[in-house]
C-alpha cells in the first residue's frame, strides 16, 4: 500500500521540521496537544469543548485539540512527535506500531470492539459484498480500518481489488460523509464505521433513513488512543491515561462519554490489534 508508505516518509520530514524549526513547542509551554481524527463525530463543537474542559481540569495541562481532514495528517503529526497523543484508527496504529504506544482503548457497549458496515440505498435488497460489484462505492478514508481496510481485505479474500471490483471508489474523509454519499445516491454503496452509524441512528435518524446495512463485519478492535513511543512514559501521557481511565468518575467526564455514546476507556493490549494486522497483510499481499 503506497499510501501507507507515504506517511512514514512525510513523518520523517515533519519530524525533522519539528526538531529544528520549532524545537520546544510542546515542552516549553507544556501544552498537551491531543489529535483527533474523524473516527468519531469530530464535527460536534460541544463535544470538543467538553472534552477540552475535562482534559484540562483532570490533567492539569492546557489542552490543545488538533483536528485535520484526513487520518494521514494526524498520523503524521503523531508519528513525528508533534502531538502528545491522538485518537487514531486501528489501521494506522498497526501500520506504525513500532513507533507508537497505546494509551487507552474506548469501551463501547461493554467491549472495546466495533464493526464495519457495508451500506446501500434503503430497499435495494442486497445482502453481501459480492452483490455490490460495479457500484460507485464510498470509502471514508484510505487509512480507515472500518471505512476501507475491512472491505478491501474481504475483497482480497475474493482475489479482488476495490479499484477493479467497483466501477468507481470515492473517499469522503469522514464516516458521516459516507452515509451522506449513499443517502444522496452519489454512491450506490459505502463502507462505514458501525459505531458512527449507530450513533447517527440516534442523533440524525433522517440522515440514515435512506440507507440500509448490507452486512456488518466481524467485531474489530475499536480505534485506540496512541502516543509516540518516545512519550510512552512521559508525565503528560501518564496524566492523559489517568484522565481517560477515570472519565466515568466525574460529571464532566460522564457528559463527554454520553456525547460519545461510550462506556469509558480501558488499558489496551498490543496483541489486541492482530486482526487488523492480518487484514493489512492480506491486502498488501494482493497489492
Amino acid at each position: 500500500m503506497d499510501n501507507l508508505l507515504r506517511p512514514s516518509r512525510r513523518a520523517v520530514v515533519l519530524g525533522l521540521a519539528a526538531a529544528t524549526a520549532r524545537p520546544a513547542t510542546a515542552a516549553a509551554v507544556s501544552v498537551l496537544r491531543f489529535g483527533l481524527t474523524p473516527v468519531f463525530l469530530s464535527s460536534d463543537l460541544d463535544l470538543l469543548a467538553n472534552l477540552q474542559t475535562y482534559l484540562e481540569a483532570t490533567t492539569g495541562y492546557p489542552v490543545e485539540l488538533v483536528t485535520r481532514r484526513t487520518y494521514q495528517e494526524i498520523t503524521t503529526l503523531l508519528v513525528s512527535g508533534e502531538l502528545d497523543a491522538a485518537w487514531i484508527c486501528g489501521y494506522p496504529y498497526v501500520a506504525f506500531r513500532d513507533r507508537l504506544s497505546l494509551v487507552a482503548v474506548p469501551v463501547w457497549r461493554g467491549r472495546p470492539l466495533y464493526q464495519s458496515y457495508l451500506l446501500s440505498a434503503a430497499g435495494r435488497g442486497v445482502r453481501s459484498l459480492a452483490d455490490l460489484e460495479g457500484d460507485v462505492h464510498a470509502f471514508s478514508d484510505p487509512d480507515s480500518n472500518s471505512g476501507f481496510l475491512v472491505t478491501a481485505a474481504e475483497l482480497a479474500e475474493m482475489d479482488e481489488r476495490p479499484e477493479t471490483f467497483f466501477e468507481r471508489t470515492l473517499f469522503t474523509y469522514s464516516h458521516r460523509n459516507v452515509v451522506r454519499a449513499v443517502a444522496s445516491g452519489l454512491a450506490a454503496s459505502g463502507s462505514v464505521d458501525g459505531y458512527v452509524y449507530e450513533v447517527l441512528k440516534e442523533v440524525s435518524p433522517d440522515l440514515i433513513a435512506p440507507t440500509e446495512i448490507v452486512r456488518a463485519s466481524d467485531w474489530k478492535p475499536f480505534p485506540p488512543i496512541a502516543c509516540p513511543r518516545a512519550y510512552e512514559a512521559s508525565a503528560k501521557t501518564e496524566a492523559l491515561r489517568v484522565a481517560l481511565m477515570r472519565m466515568t468518575d466525574t460529571g464532566d467526564g460522564r457528559a463527554v462519554l454520553d456525547l460519545l455514546r461510550l462506556d469509558g476507556f480501558a488499558p489496551g493490549q498490543p496483541g489486541f490489534f492482530e486482526p487488523i494486522r492480518l487484514a493489512m497483510e492480506s491486502v498488501r499481499r494482493l497489492g
Binding site: 460507485v136 464510498a138 466501477e167 468507481r168 470515492l170 473517499f171 469522503t172 474523509y173 460523509n177 451522506r180 454519499a181 444522496s184 445516491g185 452519489l186 454512491a187
Partner: protein, 480 residues
Amino acid sequence: MTGLRALPLAIRIPLLVAILMIAVGVVASERVLSRLQDVQERQLSDLTEAYLDGLSSSLVDPVLREDPWEVFDILDRARGLYAAVRPLETIVLDDRGTVLAASDPRRFPIGSPAPPQPDVLFANAAHVDEEEARAYARRMLTVEGRQVGSILVAIDAAPILEERRAVLFTLLASNAAVTLAAAVLGWIAVRRMVRPIRLLGTHLTQALDGPVSPIPAALIPAQRTEVGRLFRSYNALALALGERDALLARAAEEERLASLGRLASGMAHEINNPLGGLFNALDTLKVHGDKAAIRKGSVDLLERGLKGIRDVVRTTLATYRPDRELRPLRQADIDDLRILVRPETARKQLALDFGGRLDRDVPIDAFQLRQILLNVLLNACRAAPEGGTVRVTVGTKGADFMARIEDSGPGLPEDAEQILKGGLKPTAERGGLGLVITSRMVGDLGGSLVADTSALGGARITITIPMAVGAAAEEVLHVA
C-alpha cells in the same frame, strides 16, 4: 364605418375613449412587461452569475483532482448557502463532458453523459425556459487557460414567472377598470354636452309641422357659453319667423277687408242702380196701378230688379258667410264670380270674357277656391285699362282643376314675379301682397300658381290644383 357613424354621439365618443384607453393600456402594459422581463432576467442572470462564481472558485480544485465527493459536498452545501438563487439542479462535468457529480446524483449519476442542453445557452446569461419555468446557465471551469470542466445549473424561474403573471393580471384588471370608468364618465359627459343640441333638434323638428317655438329661458345657459349663444340665435330666428307669420296674417286680413270694402261698395252700387228703376216702377204703380198693362210691366220690372238684388246678396253671402260648409266647386260658383266683379267691370267698361264650363262638381273646397279666383280676378280687373279685356278660362285637365286669368294690362311688375318665386319679400311699396297671399292659399290646397305674359298683353296667372288629393278633397266630395 357607416354603421358606427349612425350611432349617437353619446355612444360613439365613449366607445372611442374606451378604444383609445385600451390601445394606451396595451402599449403601456407591453412596455411594463417587457421592462419587467428585462429586469427579472438581469436579476436572475446576476444571481446565477454570483452562484456560479462562488461555485467555480471552490470547484476548480476538486474537479482537477476528479473528486466526486468533494464536488458533491460543495454542491450540497451551496444549496443551503444560495437558497435565494433557488438552484434546482447543478451538474459538474469533467473535461470529457461526463458527469463528475450532480446535486441530484440519482438523476445524473457519476460517469453518465452530460444531459442535453438548450441550444441557446450563453456563457454569461441565464436562459429562461418559460414552459419548464426554469432558467439554465453554464460556466466553464478553466485553469491556466485550459478547460478542466464545466458547471450546468438549472434555476427555478417559477417565482419570477409567477410575479410576471401577477403583474400582467394586475395590469389587465387596472386597465379594464380605468377603461370602463373612462367610458362611463365619457358617456355621462357627452350626454350632458349633447343634451342642448338634442333640445334644439327637437324644437327644429317641431317647427317643420307647426309654429316655430322658442326655447324656454329657463333652459338657456349663460350667454358666454357656446350653447347659450346658439340658443339665443335660435330664439331670435324663431321670433323673426313668428313676426313674419303674424305680419303676413295681418296683411291677409287687411287684404280681405280691403276686397270686402270694394265688394261692399260695388254691391251698394249694384243694389243702388236698380233702386232708382224700382222706385220709378213703384211710383208708376201708385199712379197707374189700375192699368193692367202698366201694372204688369211695373211688377215685372220690380221683380227683375229685386231678383238682381237677391242674386247680389246671395252671392256675397256665399262668399263671405262665416259659418260656411265644405262643399265642392260648381259652375254656379264660376257664374257668381261674374256677378261679384260686375261693379268693377261696369265701372271700367271692361270686356269680361268667360271661357270653359265645369260639367261636374270639382272636389275642391269651394269657399277657398272662390276666394282665390275672386282675388286673382279682382287683381286682373284692377290691372286692366279702361275698356280693356279680362279673360277667365276654367276647366279640368286630367286629375287637376285649372283656371287661367288673363288681362290686357301692363303685366306684372318685376318685383311681383320675384315675390312669387320667393326671391323678394313683399313690402307696402312693392305691393303684390295679395298675389303672395293668394299663392299661399293655392299652396294650402296643394296646387301651384304660375305667372307669365298673356297674349292679351298683360299678365297671365295659371292656377293648377289637384282634385281629390287627401282627406280634405274626399271630405269635400262626401259633403257634396
